[in-house]
C-alpha cells in the first residue's frame, strides 16, 4: 500500500468515525469480505457504533449436512474418488467429515482448481471422480466450463455433486426476515463480476437500504463503508453504488452467464442453519444429467435439520442476527483448531475470521 493510499484511508476513517451519532449495522454477505475485513483489522479502525455483521456468504458454512452425508455415502463405492476444495474437508455431516473418512483410507483428494479434476479424471480412467461442486455464482461458471469441456472431450468418469447457491434469494431472505436489522449492505464483488449488478439492485430499490458492490482491498472496504455511512446518516441520498467498477460491469460477464444458463437451472436448496430458500440453487440442466453424481449413483440429498452442536449459534451468526462473540463457545471451547460449528471451520466463516485475526477478541 502506498503512503498516499494509507493517508487517504486514515482520513476517510477519521471522517466516517466523526460523522456517526448513533449505532448502525452494515452487513457483508460474502465470506471473502468477512475474511478480508478481519484480516485488515477494519473493525478496529472504526468506532464501536459501526457494527459490521456477517451474512450467509461462506459457501462451506451453509452447505447442508445431508450433502456431506451424500458424499460420504459415495465413498463407500469401491471405485469412487471424491475431489474437493480443501475448505469442505472438515465440515461434518450428521456424523462424519470427509477428513475423517480420508483418515480411514477412503479416497478423498483436495484440488485447487476445477481443471485439476479434469486431469485427475483423465489420468484415472478406472476411477469415477466425483467433484464436490460447492460455491456461489463466482465459482459456478467454472464448474459449467468444466462440465462442457468434459462433454466435448468425451470424459465419462467425471461427475458432479452440486450444492451451488445463488446470492439474490439469500439476500432477499435475510432482508425479509423480521428480527434482522441492517442499515447498509456490502455486496459481493466477485459474484457481481459474473452476475452484474442486477441481483443486488433490489437491496436499495425494493428494501430502501444503501448498498455498495465492493472490492476486496482495504481501500475498497473503507471507501464502501464511508459511502454507506454517508447514505445512512442522510448526508447523501440513498442510491445503489458500484465501487468495484474496475472489475464489475453493470451487465456482468456475458460468457460466464451464457455458460451457466446452458449448464444449470434454478431450484430450491436447504441452507445449513437457515432452511430451504426458494430458487436459491443451481442444479444441472436435463441435458447435462449424465454428469450428475446424484443421478448416476442414485443418491438423494436428505434435508436433515441443521446439526448444530450444543449452544453453537451459527444459525444466528449466518444471518447477521448475532456476532460470533455472542456465542458462549467462541474462543474457549470453539477455536479453529477445535471447531464446533461450520462458521469456525472455513477461514471465511465469521467465527474463524473473527478469531483468526482478533486473537479471540472482536
Amino acid at each position: 500500500m502506498t503512503q498516499e493510499e494509507k493517508r487517504l484511508i486514515g482520513e476517510t476513517v477519521a471522517q466516517v468515525n466523526k460523522s456517526l451519532k448513533s449505532d448502525i449495522r452494515i452487513m457483508e454477505v460474502c465470506g471473502t469480505h468477512t475474511h478480508q475485513i478481519a484480516r485488515f483489522g477494519i473493525r478496529k479502525l472504526l468506532v464501536p457504533k459501526i457494527h459490521l455483521v456477517s451474512g450467509p456468504g461462506c459457501p462451506v458454512c451453509v452447505t447442508e449436512s445431508g450433502y456431506i452425508d451424500a458424499l460420504i455415502t459415495l465413498l463407500m463405492h469401491e471405485n469412487v474418488t471424491i475431489a474437493t476444495f480443501g475448505d469442505l474437508l472438515r465440515v461434518r455431516g450428521s456424523s462424519d467429515s470427509l477428513e475423517e473418512q480420508k483418515s480411514l483410507g477412503r479416497k478423498v483428494i483436495t484440488v485447487y482448481s476445477p481443471e485439476d479434476v479434469l486431469n485427475l479424471a483423465k489420468r484415472n480412467t478406472d476411477q469415477n471422480i466425483v467433484f464436490a461442486a460447492v460455491g456461489f455464482e463466482t465459482t459456478a461458471p467454472l464448474y459449467a466450463a468444466l462440465i462442457q469441456t468434459s462433454q466435448k472431450e468425451n470424459i465419462h468418469n467425471l461427475f458432479f455433486l452440486t450444492s451451488l447457491k445463488r446470492m439474490e434469494p439469500a439476500i432477499r431472505f435475510i432482508l425479509g426476515k423480521s428480527g434482522v436489522h441492517i442499515d447498509g449492505m456490502i455486496c459481493p464483488g466477485h459474484v457481481a463480476a459474473i452476475t452484474g449488478i442486477s441481483p443486488f439492485l433490489p437491496v436499495t430499490i425494493e428494501y430502501h437500504i444503501p448498498a455498495v458492490i465492493c472490492g476486496f482491498e482495504a481501500m475498497d472496504l473503507i471507501a464502501s463503508i464511508s459511502i454507506l455511512c454517508r447514505q445512512i446518516t442522510g448526508e447523501i441520498p440513498i442510491q445503489f453504488m458500484n465501487t468495484y467498477k474496475r472489475c464489475v460491469s453493470d451487465a456482468g460477464n456475458s460468457a460466464a452467464l451464457r455458460l451457466m444458463s446452458e449448464v444449470f437451472r434454478i431450484s430450491d436448496v436447504n441452507w445449513r442453519g437457515i432452511g430451504i430458500i426458494r430458487d436459491s440453487a443451481l442444479i444441472l440442466n436435463h441435458s447435462y444429467e449424465e454428469y450428475d453424481a446424484s443421478k448416476r449413483f442414485g443418491l438423494k440429498i436428505e434435508s436433515v435439520p441443521a446439526a448444530f452442536p450444543d449452544r453453537c449459534e451459527c444459525s444466528k451468526v449466518l444471518i447477521g442476527e448475532e456476532t460470533p462473540d455472542m456465542c458462549v463457545n467462541f474462543g474457549s471451547l470453539c477455536t479453529p483448531d477445535h471447531p464446533i460449528g461450520p462458521c469456525m471451520i472455513s477461514s471465511e466463516g465469521a467465527c474463524a475470521a473473527y478469531y483468526g485475526f482478533g486473537g479471540g477478541k472482536i
Binding site: F85, Y112, E115, R246, S346
Partner: protein, 73 residues
C-alpha cells in the same frame, strides 16, 4: 471462496493463457472471458479468468476517496 487475484496475459491459445501473477508465471483457463488479448489484465479465481480489469487498479477508488474527503464539511 470467492477470492480472485489480478494477473496479466502473456501468451494465449483458444482455451488457456499464460499469465503473470506478481512475477510468477501460471497457466489459467480463459473460456469464461470473451475478447481477451495479450497484455490484458484479468482476475483469476481457482485457475480460471473470470473478468477483465481496468489497467489503473486503484485510480477510480483514489479519486472517489478524494471526492468524499473534499465533499465533507
Amino acid at each position: 471462496m470467492c477470492l480472485a487475484i489480478p494477473a496479466k496475459v502473456i501468451k494465449m491459445n483458444e482455451s488457456h493463457a499464460e499469465v503473470d501473477i506478481m512475477g510468477v508465471r501460471k497457466t489459467v483457463n480463459i473460456l469464461l472471458v470473451d475478447n481477451l488479448n495479450v497484455g490484458d489484465k484479468i482476475m483469476i479465481h481457482a485457475g480460471f479468468a473470470i473478468s477483465k480489469i481496468e489497467d489503473e487498479y486503484f485510480c477510480f477508488l483514489e479519486n472517489m476517496l478524494r471526492e468524499i474527503l473534499d465533499d465533507c464539511p
